[in-house]
Subunit: 157 residues, 2 copies
DNA sequence: TTTAGTAATGAGAACTATTCTCATTATATG
DNA sequence: CATATAATGAGAATAGTTCTCATTACTAAA
């Protein structure tokens, strides 16, 4: 489990090097933002945080780099929101296996660290599936959907 | 559990009526296609099947009706594909609680009927989550990701 | 340190799924 | 039958994302 940003950056550097990619300033900025947010973020959120730090990150560069980082196993692009790509650091990088809490009202997505009971149940389920059908399971996604604390407050107000 | 298309159509009619919506020919065609495919389908797949039956379903009408059907609880729009909306009949309509097998290679999505072990584990997990954090869980999504039989064949060929 | 050669950048065009607009057509109701 | 409302369909508009291409920044060899 990667716990400091320094360790994170050096791991990223290795992953990029494996694919002959440079760890440029822009790429480092993106990883830094994702590390510090520690929740899935949309492109505009990433740009906003960068902008707060006077980092000018052009849209096309940001998308291109996110795609490259994804290809190198640094970033994962989630499929969780209706019409927005959300990005987070890959589990293979952080070592933090987790799932997501998705608010059905505002679309906000937050991490939910997994627990061993749930994971055991899922592995069993995956095995059952593999036995029964012709599909090679390599991973799973679990999202819990509902109403986040913010939206709950707004509703009752 | 709805097992015949006739039952399905009458349930849909009721659901629409609750919201003062008519069960028009187009809407019936969409429901029919989704019922018969019995797997999540993109708009273009839906249109293709309709077209095979000489049903001319304009894009704008199809989207509009899918949105209305979703609003009435007839259809569910999945978030499972990178850049395509996928539609299926809602579980509340069919009574068939299931999850999805998503092929990471071709993006194809298929149904996976759930089983009680898995569901029990998930409800427990949901309860644990609710206790620990401020998030009101109302549902869950589980996708198993991997390689579908088709892509497996192609790879080994 | 120069010099290629290659990689990354940035601005804006292009693309694509989806939604919107609005005039026309169909349907239901008094 | 008349009128109000709903649904339709063609195409414009929108928005997230990707592509293009000229420019700039690195890197490595001479």
């Amino acid at each position: 489990m990667i716990d400091t940003q320094d360790k994170c950056h050096s791991s990223v550097e290795e992953l990029l090097a494996e694919k002959n990619q440079r760890y440029t300033t822009h790429r480092k900025s993106i990883v830094r933002v994702l590390f510090e947010l520690s929740k899935p973020a949309s492109l505009s959120e990433i740009l906003a945080v960068a902008s707060q730090r006077s980092i000018n990150l052009p849209i096309s560069t940001a998308y291109r780099n996110l795609a490259i980082l994804e290809d190198c196993g640094v970033v994962r692009r989630l499929i969780a929101s209706e019409d927005l790509g959300l990005y987070e650091l890959a589990e293979a990088l952080t070592g933090n296996h987790h799932h997501h809490l998705i608010c059905e009202q505002c679309g906000d997505v937050n991490d939910l660290s997994s627990n061993s009971n749930l994971e055991r149940a899922l592995s069993r389920a995956a095995e059952m599936v593999m036995d029964q059908i012709d599909f090679q399971v390599t991973g799973h996604r679990i999202d819990l959907t509902g109403i986040c604390s913010n939206c709950n407050k707004v509703d009752s107000a």
